[in-house]
């Protein structure tokens, strides 16, 4: 499974009068709130991330993708905590090394260098997907700590 994102500890899940202001946002991508206070868009490398987009698509009838439509209700994980992310969320195309600092990258992804540092890779763990009969090869995930409070 691709784009695996799990908030495993902490954070504040904020989702009051909040909608996406563009397409291509999915849970786990870095986002920024707009000046109107009710919209979120993908964070770029030159922006201060407000948090991760988060949440199931509740108002869409039996959704076939986790990518939000533009204007769709969304949550924002703010504050600090820990999360698991698959390789898909990293600009480099590979998991960051342990202890690597994490920065806002392009298109809501995470880079290991940049202007706005928001976290650190703490461990690499293995998750066994529910496929393959008896899965012997797991999926490597990065366990990261994050803190978006610095940008408030």
């Amino acid at each position: 499974m691709s784009y695996e994102f799990e908030k495993v500890e902490g954070g504040v899940v904020f989702g009051k009068d909040l909608v996406t202001n563009e397409a291509n946002i999915r849970p786990g991508l870095l986002v920024v709130m707009d000046s109107g206070g009710d919209g979120v868009g993908l964070c770029g490398a030159d922006s201060k991330p407000d948090g991760f987009a988060y949440g199931a698509r509740e108002k869409v009838y039996n959704p076939t993708t986790k990518v939000y439509a533009s204007g769709e209700e969304v949550n924002l994980i703010m504050g600090d905590g820990m999360a698991l992310l698959s390789v898909d969320f990293f600009s480099s195309g590979s998991l960051p090394s342990i202890q690597a600092d994490l920065y806002a990258g392009a298109s809501g992804k995470i880079a290991t260098s940049g202007s706005y540092k928001f976290g650190k890779c703490r461990q690499q763990v293995t998750s066994y997907p529910g496929t393959g009969g008896v899965p012997r090869t797991g999926t490597s995930l990065a366990l990261i700590s994050f803190d978006f409070n610095a940008f408030n």
Binding site: M1, E4, K7, V8, T64, K66, V125, P129, G132, V134
Partner: protein, 326 residues
Amino acid sequence: MSKLGEIIQFDKRVGFILPVEENGKVRAAYSGESVMNEVDALLADLARGGSSGDARQDHILLAQAIVPPIAQAIPYTRWTEMFFMPVNYSHGEDNRLAVEDITTLAWQTTGESQVMFTAPGYLWTRPTFIEFDSGIEMYWRRMERAGWNVLQRAMERVRSDIARQIDTNAQTALDAAISGVSHNSTVSGGKVTKAAVDAIIKAAQQIGFPMTMAMINPGTMTDMTSWSGGVFTSGLAEEDRREMVTSLYIGRYGGIQWYTNPNCPTDYVYFSGPASNGAYEQRRGGMRTYSDVDIVRKLDLHTVLSGEYAWYVGNAYNYWSLQVTS
């Protein structure tokens, strides 16, 4: 002048109308024109004999007693059906299927550390329905001239063609799923080998989805006669030996029920566990035929519509294929 019926009769052995012979000679001589007139009258009588009040029915009934040509192609029977669970939908009904979206992780921990949570998600998929159709124009004159039920044979061919189209699409869905999990393998040399089949059986056992059935062309299956090694070297059980001699294959090799269908490609063998472990064939509506009469063009129109079909392989790990290359 003699009546036509007195000088011709239908010969069931050969399926043709033949002149009645007496002492090796045709009973009466007829001019070609008068014979044609009488034949036309006879066919017209046959058509009216339907007495259905429906011209289309009358045309279909026309001269049905005449034996059709011996078919040179067998009716198409589907071979992909056994790999899918059939599910019927009504029009307007959502054909959504749930897709698993779960990440879990267990940790070695200390007694005082916080528990880390993951949250299961949900997703659906909606396979796309496709459908097939075909049509036949049946000129009245052609039916008359043919003298046998051409339409029936044509309709059988149409049904076969539609079944073939359905199989082609089901096979495409199956192939895509199988290659997606790298369960497709190849054996060279133009024959299905024991080693290649054994490797698939072993790999399937290793992941906990053992193969229980296989679909193979019956000709391809006779490659078993060249197998060696294992029980084929040390000696087969008596019942297997007898089956090998009489059918040129063992229909239960490897704990698999081997199904044969001459429509299955000769260069592919497909394996699977129970279909309930793997895939759906969604169906909406059934096969329908509609007919109409075109009196301007003097023909009947027959339209055959398939139902709608969609395929979804939910667990590709249940399926394997073996391609035989030269």
